[in-house]
């Protein structure tokens, strides 16, 4: 009720300047087609990827924040007594059922790969020769919504599907198989220089994030198609020089990103031979192994994040990934708009590309800030830990425990966008190039912007964020106990991480409580 009063006051206020234009409306009103409500099939040139989320209302924000803080204290109180055993988590092999064997077998991988390769070809061709209006061309929607958001969700909630269907890997593997060269390109165990770690993937991921968040051409179909071509050249050259698996594991930003999200997922592929829970194998090895040695594991969500330690370059990759995802949300807030405006006024010497420069510097500083904060927390963990350890080791142990918070934020931030903008695909499959075709008869489909209501999105976001936070805290405790061995000591050395997690969760909540501006 209060809202409507507030609005009425506003409406009255609005009517004041109207008087000057009132005479026009009377005069022109007679002969003009006043309301031309156009069923807008072509939408607008720039209207790609708009989000229509209502900000999380204050009472829900307060409830979320309170739950986050209270649950944190509550969990710590429990942790002081709780010593999770070091044993393996509950697991179930899905291959014991026929349906599991069918889904986890080579035939379904082949189908998935053929579809992925076909999709890639159609997207690139659409981008190159199709209508260049972003909403009428398959490429922007397929790349940004179906692939990037869609595969993030699949990775986090199903498993590393990208590793199975990756069309670049598939095409390269088929090429290898067709040239029976004794060098056997992909399988050649050319060693990846260990100094390089995943730094190359990190660099490429930052470039990708810049394209996704800042670059003006990100929704122009032909630009996206050329980027895909460029990425193909880089990927296949890399696979040729370093071997397919080595490249995917160390240098490919998407294989890396999706596999990190998939550590949270409830399923994982493994190869049996004396494998401990830590020996995570990617799906390449799984499919190469004999059928009897394959395992397709169902496990509690998040169990895969309990990796004992990870190389420092992977730590940086994870933090960079988390920071770019959060920066995406921050960029749409009024706060960032004010910062942008202030800098825009203050720096006239930078010329026309000022906004791009401001955003780019913002992205990089945000990554740097996340990295330094995480480093600082690692220092505090070392101080609080009863066992001597290096800062490096501390940061390597805990980094993956932040992933559930990021996944929760992915749901909160992208769910309605995914469900609303994703509907464009129904229309686009019938007319992928924007030539006016109607292959499946769905070319006239209009997205239903009411498919999910605001209330549904609010509660889903809130529950996801609080749940993600709880999972993260529990994982961090398991890691700490495994390291220190005693619940009380573990809880103490976990406090810095806990503070970081509360801050990170609060930031996610704060962002979804902000109105989205453009």
């Amino acid at each position: 009720m209060r809202t409507s009063k507030f609005v009425r006051a506003k409406a009255i206020q609005v009517s004041t300047p109207k008087n000057s234009g009132g005479s026009h409306s009377g005069r022109l009103g007679v002969g003009l087609p006043w309301i031309s409500i156009v069923a807008c099939a072509s939408a607008s040139a720039h209207g790609f990827g708009a989000r229509y989320d209502l900000p999380l209302p204050l009472p829900l924000w307060i409830a979320g924040a309170a739950a986050t803080v209270l649950l944190s204290f509550f969990l710590v109180a429990i942790f002081i007594r709780w010593n999770p055993g070091g044993g393996a988590t509950a697991e179930l092999d899905l291959l014991r059922w026929r349906i599991g064997r069918a889904i986890g077998g080579k035939v379904s991988r082949c189908i998935g790969r053929v579809l992925a390769v076909a999709g890639l070809i159609v997207i690139v061709v659409a981008g190159l020769i199709g209508n260049q209006t972003p909403t009428r061309n398959l490429a922007p929607t397929a790349i940004w919504i179906a692939w990037w958001v869609g595969f993030s969700y699949l990775s986090a909630f199903i498993g590393d599907v990208w590793c199975v269907v990756n069309p670049w890997a598939a095409l390269f593997e088929w090429y290898e198989n067709s040239t029976p060269d004794e060098r056997s390109l992909g399988l050649a165990q050319k060693t990846w220089p260990s100094r390089l770690g995943v730094w190359l993937a990190t660099g490429l991921f930052i470039a990708f994030a810049w394209i996704e968040l800042i670059w003006d051409g990100r929704s122009i179909p032909s630009h996206l198609a050329w980027l895909a071509v460029g990425y193909s050249v880089i990927t296949w050259t890399g696979m040729y020089w370093f071997g397919r698996d080595a490249w995917l594991r160390h240098a490919d930003p998407f294989a890396q990103a999706f596999s990190i999200l998939a550590k949270f997922a409830p399923t994982e592929t493994r190869v049996a031979a004396g494998v401990t829970a830590q020996d995570r194998t990617d799906c390449g090895q799984y499919y190469r192994a004999a059928e009897s040695a394959r395992r397709w594991i169902l496990r509690p969500p998040g169990a895969g994040l309990l990796v004992p330690a990870t190389p420092s370059s992977v730590v940086v990759f994870v933090i960079v990934m988390l920071s770019t995802v959060t920066f995406d949300g921050l960029m749409a807030t009024p706060l960032w708009q004010r910062i942008q405006n202030a800098l825009y006024e203050a720096l006239p010497s930078l010329g026309d590309s000022r906004l791009t420069i401001i955003d780019s510097v913002g992205l990089l500083s945000f990554c740097a800030a996340f990295l330094s904060i995480y480093r600082f927390v690692a220092v505090l963990i070392v101080k609080a830990s009863p066992k001597p350890m290096t800062v490096e080791a501390a940061s390597q142990k805990f980094v993956f425990t932040l992933v559930p918070i990021a996944i929760a934020y992915l749901i909160a931030h992208y769910l309605s966008y995914f469900l609303i903008q994703g509907q464009l695909l129904i229309r686009l499959v019938s007319d992928p190039f924007g030539f006016g075709w109607n292959i499946f008869g769905s070319a006239q489909f209009r997205p239903d912007i009411g498919i999910v209501g605001a209330r549904f999105v609010w509660y889903t976001s809130l529950i996801a964020i609080v749940l993600g936070h709880v999972i993260a805290i529990c994982l961090a405790h398991v890691v700490a106990v495994r390291d220190v061995g005693d619940g009380r000591a573990a809880a103490r050395c976990q406090v810095p991480m806990l503070v970081l997690m509360v801050a990170y969760t609060m930031m996610s909540l704060w962002i979804i409580a902000q109105p989205i501006v453009e």
Partner: protein
């Protein structure tokens, strides 16, 4: 059923304070928003590229009938995103975007001219759930 529900209601109303408060809140939450949809009229004026009111957010409740009347000294094409309502304004003219706010969300109203690429929306329309 209604009789039993009424009895349960009366019972709870006689019992403790917290339960009563909760019930009243639930009752309000369920029934109060179902007031009749309103007709809401908002106005925007664009003069010399200045929009007044500046960066407005028009807030309505789901299912309201909304009319946004826009007067401009320059010809332009107006587009309400999401609902995809579009209209042209002739020079020194007025147009009205008229729609029923069936879907919740926050939707930008934008003016499309030929030249400028990135423009801030003229206003936002917030459709709140009932």
């Amino acid at each position: 059923m209604p009789k039993q529900a009424l009895q349960a209601f009366a019972h709870i109303m006689r019992r403790g304070q917290p339960a009563r408060l909760l019930l009243v809140a639930t009752f309000l939450g369920v029934f109060a928003p179902h007031v009749a949809a309103e007709r809401r009229v908002f106005e925007l004026t664009i003069h010399d590229g200045e929009v007044s009111p500046k960066s407005a957010v028009f807030s309505v409740v789901q299912n309201d009938e909304v009319v946004v009347q826009i007067a401009s000294d320059q010809p332009m094409h107006i587009h309400l995103h999401g609902y995809d309502v579009e209209s042209d304004i002739p020079p020194n003219g007025v147009t009205r975007l008229r729609f029923r706010a069936t879907a919740t969300g926050r939707f930008p109203v934008e003016a499309h001219n030929e030249q400028k690429r990135r423009r801030r929306p003229l206003a936002y329309i917030e459709v709140r759930p009932r």
